[in-house]
Amino acid sequence: MIYHELIIIGGGPAGMAAAVTARERGISDLLIIERENMLGGILKQCIHNGFGLHYFSEELTGSEYAAKFVDKIDELKISYKLNTMVLSVDGNKMVYTSNEEDGYVIYKAKAIILAMGCRERPRGNLRIPGSNPSGVLTAGTAQRFVNIDGYLPGTSCVILGSGDIGLIMARRLTLEGVKVKAVCEIMPHPGGLVRNIEQCLNDYDIPLKLSHTVFSIHGKKRVEGVTIAMVDEHFNIIENTKEYIACDTLLLSVGLIPENELTFAMGAKIDSVTNGAFVNQNLETSVEGVFSCGNVLHVHDLVDYVTLEGIKAAEHAVEHIKNNALKTIRRVTVVAAAGIRYVMPQYIDITEEEEVVRVYFRSRKVFKEVSTFASCDDVWISKRRHLRLLPAEMEFIEVNTNDIKDDTVYIGVDA
């Protein structure tokens, strides 16, 4: 068994930001464990622009953004293990790993930061009926084939879901000469960022079909086409709207699921809406000394926010390691109320010190010109104006701990 003060699982932007911060705050004995052969996480395959506008105030590609952190990690001589899979973690902060070089190794840490990112929702989870040919794959897998391996996944395609990866792949494949015939989105509003709809679809005349889904897949060996159809407000197929589109590929961009197998196995409480851990404002999970950040905690729109979350998780992990963490006097639950899909953190721990806590949230649907509120015992303790709220864009509201008199805080939209 090998001991480290801090172990970070996952070397994507969240894990790398956490590592750099922890080192800068004086933790010398730390290790990043990454299962791929390079640091960078999902950013390795994001060769498009649009990263870093907030954090670095300049527009970078995903790989450039990641490279800045990799350089920093090398400069600070932070150690990391590549090609190493964390198989499980337990409540005593033992980390079980395996790789080709060292074999099966068990580590123990004083604090752990979980930064495992997320995976894409596959076809089977949506239960799209029809045949089962090759040519149905998630947009992220396709992105990897194209951007890392240099291969094309097809010659003509339909994309289901208007998540950002799907939108970016629509443009990327179009530039590679693949005919993108349509993007279907079951919701009446797009799933990805507004700028991606503009730059990836509209600029290339790719039709975005809202309230549409794939009804069935055709082709015995390879996809030969898909039948798409419109849905009503309860997502039921409207029979006379079925339309056949010939294509050899169906890309799925229908949602990301935080990879919390380790978190769950460790015994931490998981939020069934975010699929991430329940955390307090310090990003500490229900297992003391274990923190969570980045896409494994909840799915982010922008890597810049992932970085900030990684930094925050590290700051509190360092406090924990140095035994400086403030004692919790009482724990308050934060609940998503009217118009809100989820909140993060789900707990606020009240200590002796007054604190302004940022509660992040996503709305259930599109709102224009509204206020959100935080309330306690039917009294508003905070309020924020929004020009618009989009389910695809994360927002926040701030709450002062001194105003929290009850043990539940509700976050809602004042419609």
Binding site: R35, N83, M85, L87, S98, N99, E100, E101, D102, G103, Y104, I106, R119, E120, P122, R123, G124, N125, R127, P129, G130, S131, N132, P133, S134, G135, L137, T138, G140, T141, R144, F145, V146, I148, D149, G150, Y151, L152, P153, G154, T155, E176, G177, F215, S216, K220, K221, R222, I237, D248, E261
Partner: protein, 477 residues
């Protein structure tokens, strides 16, 4: 010229080949697909039935009971996951109570051990998640679950190690017989032999017709399933059947040997024997029927949906005999459920038929009925993991994160005798890509390994049969 050509590398053809592989016979197994277990044997409920549903006196009853008795040992020999879970047939009303009574009577008549009719309270103690509407059930403790494709693939692997030849992608198009010699014409050339064994599943009637045997017809009947995540795998402890009624057989709920939860199948006659489509209406039906058994089925936990097609004989029972229209041609046809359960027994029986035709054949000097013991990496304990990696460092490199499948295991699956040549082939042998992300993560890695080990370019790698390519060429840069 070989002694015997077996048509079909499903679980039946593979067990026939295995049973014959210990004798001094030259044998080849042909299949139209690129791998074994791509017919009914790859997509079914995976249940080893206790044997009470078949009508006493039928071949179905005989081979089911014999096969089920042999199965635990066979799985041990072939290193196939097997779990004796027992089964329940639940009844909701008086009609169904009398149905399970009838099944119980059938079973006792056939001498099936460890069966009992139990009360509602007993059912709910065994299975707390089942519907409180249940009135009683038939409990059969000998029922079990297996990995059906592993059973198929490992039986074939065993046969091939004993000298049987496996010819992939050889579709039988016609059969001629001159004097005592058969010419089996395939799309890849003609094979000559002394005997033909027809284990062609859905196509067994068409194969029989090639030698002038028009005595039976195979009707394709599809069954659709929903597979739920491993998080749901402990919802039931037994295989839970609904009692068959006038409306049909009902759907079953069971955990799988790998820990997922399986719900299905429905039953629908179809026209095209090659169709494997799933349908919204069938999946909805399966789910609704499943909810009658337990209301705790979470559809959003589904990992995949799939279809299997039964080869239902028009006469009702299995057909296992030398054809009356052609000497030296043995039909093993109409093997619908409980075909999987019966496979080892059918294999041995067909070997007896062969012996009765050819006369005495001696055993080979070197043959084995077992494959080496091998655990999945994910099921090893700490010490075993350490040891495995020490022996071969590639056992330390995890390729499929959901099922913890290592590069070492994938390479083994490719280089075994009847090894994997496709993505689906690796998947059925190792479980890589069968987990909750369904290959989203490991697909590119498995393709790299296949391409390296088989020495073919990556864009030639297929999911399954020819035409199921995954990549269509290089990017521009």
């Amino acid at each position: 010229m070989v002694d015997i050509v077996i048509i079909g590398a499903g679980v039946i053809g593979s067990f026939v080949a295995r049973s014959l592989s210990k004798y001094q016979l030259s044998i080849c197994v042909t299949d139209r697909h690129i791998d074994a277990a791509m017919g009914a044997s790859g997509a079914n409920s995976g249940i080893i039935h206790a044997g009470y549903d078949a009508i006493p006196g039928t071949l179905k009853a005989k081979f089911n009971i014999e096969g089920s008795d042999m199965m635990e040992k066979t799985c041990e020999e072939l290193n196939v996951p097997y779990k004796k879970t027992g089964s329940l047939v639940i009844a909701f009303n008086d009609e169904e109570i009398s149905k399970i009574q009838e099944m119980y009577d059938h079973g006792t008549k056939e001498g099936i051990r460890d069966m009992s009719l139990i009360s509602k309270e007993q059912v709910l103690t065994l299975e707390p998640n089942l519907s409180p509407e249940i009135k009683g059930a038939l409990l059969a403790k000998t029922a079990a679950i297996v990995s059906p494709y592993k059973l198929n693939i490992n039986a074939l692997e065993n046969a091939v190690r004993n000298g049987v030849e496996f010819l992939r992608e050889h579709t039988v198009l016609g059969i001629k017989k001159e004097k005592e010699v058969f010419s089996v014409i395939t799309d890849k050339g003609t094979l000559t032999c002394r005997m033909v064994i027809n284990c062609a599943g859905l196509y067994a009637d068409e194969i029989a017709r090639m030698v002038g045997d028009d005595s039976f017809k195979i009707i394709p009947r599809s069954g659709e399933y929903i597979l739920l995540d491993k998080s749901e795998g402990t919802l039931v402890n037994h295989v839970v059947f609904q009692a068959p009624t006038m409306e049909g057989k009902g759907v079953l709920i069971t955990s799988t040997v790998d820990g997922n939860l399986l719900i299905g199948p429905d039953a629908k006659e179809i026209k095209d024997k090659d169709e494997r489509d799933t349908h919204r209406s069938s999946i909805d039906y399966v789910y609704k029927k499943g909810l009658q058994t337990t209301d705790k089925l979470l559809l959003h936990k589904s990992v995949t949906i799939f279809t299997g097609v039964r080869a239902t004989p028009d006469k009702g029972d299995f057909i296992i005999e030398e054809s009356r229209y052609c000497k030296g041609f043995i039909n093993v046809a109409g093997i619908e459920s409980p075909g999987l359960s019966s496979a080892p027994a059918i294999g041995n029986h067909v070997a007896l038929i062969v012996k009765s035709i050819i006369g005495d054949i001696s055993e080979k000097e070197n043959y084995s009925m077992t494959l080496e013991k091998k655990k999945y990496f994910s099921e090893m304990n700490e010490e075993e993991k350490k040891e495995a990696i020490l022996k071969n460092p590639l056992y330390g490199k995890i390729i499929c994160r959901c099922e913890s499948v290592t590069e070492g295991e994938i390479i083994d699956s490719i280089h075994q005798k009847a090894g994997a040549v496709t993505i689906d082939g690796v998947k059925r042998r190792t479980r890589a890509g069968m987990g909750r992300c369904q290959g989203g993560f490991c697909l590119p890695h498995v393709m790299d390994i296949l391409s390296r080990e088989l020495k073919v370019d990556k864009d030639k790698i297929q999911k399954g049969d020819e035409g199921s390519y995954i990549l269509t060429g290089r990017t521009r840069q």
